[in-house]
């Protein structure tokens, strides 16, 4: 921080980027993976089959629920889309006389997972699937949920500060679109790499950071709500209007044909897909079927809910159209989630998001490269420098290694093991912590090569591990035309190759054209 505005912004950019960089890198990596959350879940649940039409799944779900919980108070069915292989059911049993209505959500005996095409219950191995990466990227782990979300919020806020101050710092933002000088002095190439990954996808980075904050606005910024509403419930009712709950009449009546109701809903939305179906008082004359539209049908995340008479199947009501500001909020939410994206756009999302990971990683490395030349004795850096250097290695190689380790655990832990899903998650953190420990124990350049190679191996070997332990393998997926799973294995191979390339570059660093500075012999990889 010296006199000029730009210099003080450069200082702010450097330090906010460094302090929050490691957590941000983990958030970016796991968030990037979350664009393929359904595919990751499918891969991690090899017991499940193939995606099928929602109408087919709905038929199976109703048949199952009619048999298992005919007099439940309500049913909830999450229908599969073209990326999911299962329908997820949950029901609230009818309260026994004199008992308060049970509000215990999520009890496992009231849940079922059905194969999308056969409608038969499947019991996939105990795993959190892609859901873990999704959750951890905004609420951490081993922390109470709300605290974790505040940590993520603080990091995201300073990501926003780092981006805006970075843009101010940057004198020649347009010119740097086209600037990459890999053979220049180390600091210059790292700066170019940082600028390239940051500037190329700048609109994405800005969008994803701001909309990320917006998705948890209710938690971070409830003060507008407090200023306008005495009770938050009043606000929530205005925000998410819901049909009144109706008492069971006691007169039994068969439920309307669900696929027919879904057809009507889809026509009402001009071809939109139904997503969540809620049936209250099934089998009763007072039954109501609520159908919520798929959140990826439009740019705006919440697609609205239709309520139908559960016996006649007639449309009763629809949630009102939101005002422009509420719609803006939903669009920002939708932009962050990216569920509206068709496959090509989803890959653009994925690549931009990877560029975000690279931006954070190159920024972290740049901090050390820039300072190494100014060290009084480059062979014996002070504690702060060593700490940053080790955490850089341990995190940049450790997070991908951890993510891969979790997929390994998914394949290798015994299927019947107690606490299996939790141990898959533990293996993510064990591998990450192990990488940091390794990075601390080894000379820096060796540590880069070794940890990146280990990460490359862990990622690239996954298709083999999967083929050896389950029925999911590249050849089988190819033969059966299961393109999502083919792409999954190929992506793992490509990511493994990218990590191996980084490891090679780190190893070849000494051989690169020498600058005059002696200090570069132990510098970070190119």
């Amino acid at each position: 921080m010296k006199g000029s505005f730009r210099q003080s912004m450069a200082w702010l950019h450097t330090w906010s980027g460094l302090v929050f960089g490691w957590v941000l890198f983990a958030m970016f990596m796991t968030g990037t993976a979350s664009y393929f959350r359904p595919e990751i879940t499918r891969w991690m649940e090899p017991e499940t089959g193939r995606p099928a039409s929602y109408a087919q799944a709905a038929q199976g779900a109703v048949a199952y629920l009619n048999q298992t919980a005919p007099d439940a108070q309500s049913w909830s069915i999450t229908l599969p889309d073209e990326r999911q292989a299962t329908a997820r059911l949950f029901w609230r049993p009818a309260p026994s006389p004199g008992e308060e209505a049970p509000r215990r959500r999520g009890r496992s005996e009231n849940r079922a997972v059905l194969d999308a095409s056969t409608g038969q219950p499947v019991s996939p191995r105990d795993t959190r699937g892609g859901e873990f990466f999704y959750r951890v990227h905004f609420q951490m782990h081993y922390l109470p949920v709300l605290q974790g979300r505040w940590v993520a919020g603080l990091c995201a806020m300073f990501m926003l500060v780092a981006i805006t101050s970075g843009v101010v710092t940057h004198k020649r933002i347009f010119k740097d679109f086209f600037t990459f000088r890999p053979r220049k002095a180390a600091q210059r190439s790292w700066l170019d790499a940082h600028n390239l990954t940051a500037v190329l996808a700048l609109p994405f980075h800005l969008m994803i950071t701001y909309t990320g904050l917006v998705t948890l606005m209710g938690l971070y910024m409830p003060w507008g709500v407090t200023a306008n509403y005495k009770a938050p419930e009043t606000y929530f009712e205005a925000m998410f209007p819901r049909a009144e709950e109706v008492e069971r009449s006691g007169v039994s009546a068969p439920l309307a044909n669900l696929p027919g109701v879904l057809e009507t809903a889809s026509e009402h939305w001009g071809g939109g897909r139904p997503w969540i179906v809620n049936v209250s008082n099934p089998g009763d004359a007072s039954a109501v079927i609520e159908v919520t539209r798929h959140s990826g049908d439009q740019l705006a995340y919440a697609g609205g809910t239709l309520a139908f008479n559960g016996v006649t199947g007639q449309l009763i009501s629809a949630t009102p159209e939101p005002g422009p500001a509420v719609l803006t909020h939903r669009v920002m939410y939708g932009l962050h989630m990216g569920r509206f994206a068709d496959p090509i756009l989803r890959w653009v999302y994925f690549l931009c998001s990877l560029a975000g990971c690279a931006m954070v990683a190159t920024g972290l490395v740049l901090w050390t490269v820039k300072r190494r030349s100014q060290l009084p004795d480059p062979e014996r850096p002070h504690f702060g420098f060593r700490l940053v250097e080790r955490l850089n290695i341990g995190t940049i190689a450790g997070v991908p290694a951890g993510m891969a380790a979790m997929l390994w655990a998914n394949r290798l832990l015994p299927v019947g093991m107690a606490g299996r899903a939790e141990w898959e998650v533990h293996s993510f953190f064990i591998a990450w912590a192990g990488t940091i420990a390794w990075a601390c124990a080894r000379p820096a350049r060796r540590a880069w090569v070794e940890t990146l190679s280990a990460a490359a191996f862990l990622v690239a070997a996954l298709p083999l591990v999967s083929a050896a332990t389950t029925s999911r393998n590249l050849l089988g997926a190819l033969l059966s035309g299961d393109w999502a799973m083919v792409a999954f294995d190929l992506t793992l191979l490509a990511l493994g190759a990218a990590l191996a390339f980084c490891a090679l570059k780190a190893g070849a660093y000494r051989a690169a054209p020498k600058p005059r500075r002696r200090s570069r012999t132990v510098a970070a990889p190119a």
Partner: protein, 103 residues
């Protein structure tokens, strides 16, 4: 940060950075929250809409205050002006609550 601070002893430079960092986070959040509430109360739009606009804008306010905290010549100025703005917003919210109670 002024040139004077740069030549100052280490503890003064550290205190200066700390004052700015606390201003960036604490004052930044306070001003963002007050801005969200003020917009939610004063915007000529339905309550739900105004509430939403306040919330959506607040993060930009936070980022701007955080940048200001490090760009200002002296840290105390940020605190002085920041508290002044905060009281102004608080008065505005208080006035609007006098005129029209919460829902």
């Amino acid at each position: 940060m002024s040139g004077g601070v740069l030549r100052a002893p280490l503890w003064r430079r550290r205190a200066d950075v700390a004052a700015r960092a606390v201003a960036a986070i604490g004052l930044g959040y306070l001003l963002a929250a007050l801005a969200a509430a003020t917009l939610a109360r004063w915007l000529p739009a339905p309550r739900l809409e105004a509430t939403m606009i306040g919330g959506l804008t607040s993060f930009a306010v936070f980022a701007a205050v955080a940048m200001w905290a490090f760009a200002a010549r002296q840290a105390w100025r940020v605190w002085a002006y920041g508290c002044l703005i905060a009281s102004g917003l608080a008065v505005l919210i208080w006035l609007s609550l006098l005129m029209e109670p919460r829902l």
